[in-house]
């Protein structure tokens, strides 16, 4: 399991809609809207590729998203430890 956080920057007027849409995605949780148009998103993905996929999906499929900005990704080596907890 990879744990990552990212900031989703959106058009200000669409931010709340996007939060609602994000909350519907599996393994994605949102953690508030900050400074008008920045959504903190936590993603728990099975693999690196899956994580990239989610990122791309948010960037390209959601209208009003300027970009997704990864801020933290737990490394592959941590996965073993993580699942052992």
């Amino acid at each position: 399991m990879i744990i990552a956080s990212m900031i989703v920057k959106t058009e200000t007027e669409k931010v709340n809609d996007i939060v609602l849409k994000l909350q519907k995605l599996p393994n994605v949780t949102t953690h508030g809207v900050h400074k008008e148009n920045n959504i903190i998103v936590l993603v728990e993905a099975e693999s690196d590729d899956k994580l990239k996929e989610i990122g791309r999906y948010i960037s390209s499929e959601f209208e009003g998203v300027y970009g997704t900005y990864p801020t933290f990704v737990s490394g592959d080596e941590e996965i073993g430890l993580d699942t052992a907890v």
Binding site: D48, S59, G67, P70
Partner: protein
Amino acid sequence: MKKFYLITLFLVAIGIVSLGFTNNQSDEKHPDVDWSIGCQDCHAEETPDIYKAWENSSHGMVNFGCYICHGDGEVTFYSQGSDATCGGCHAGQLVEFEKTKFNSCYDCHNGHTLKFHNE
């Protein structure tokens, strides 16, 4: 499209891989350039305003180079610095942000001069 700086910030020293997923041109990769040229040599020509601002700043005065805040560009790249980096040297001036209305060193120390409120 509006340009944003991408910010990658690593807080804890656990294995971290860097990911580049964004629909934005200015992702966290430094453009692929001739890496045999040092950062300052190249930026003095390519981004002279930024270079001048840096050169005349306290960091420029003591030749505290680009790579400290921005990484080497090729292996690591951070388009914006992090508080953790500042704290590495300015260990004597750490701020307890919770007691202030500010959240980051960069809230007050702006631009490439990093002067207080860009004074």
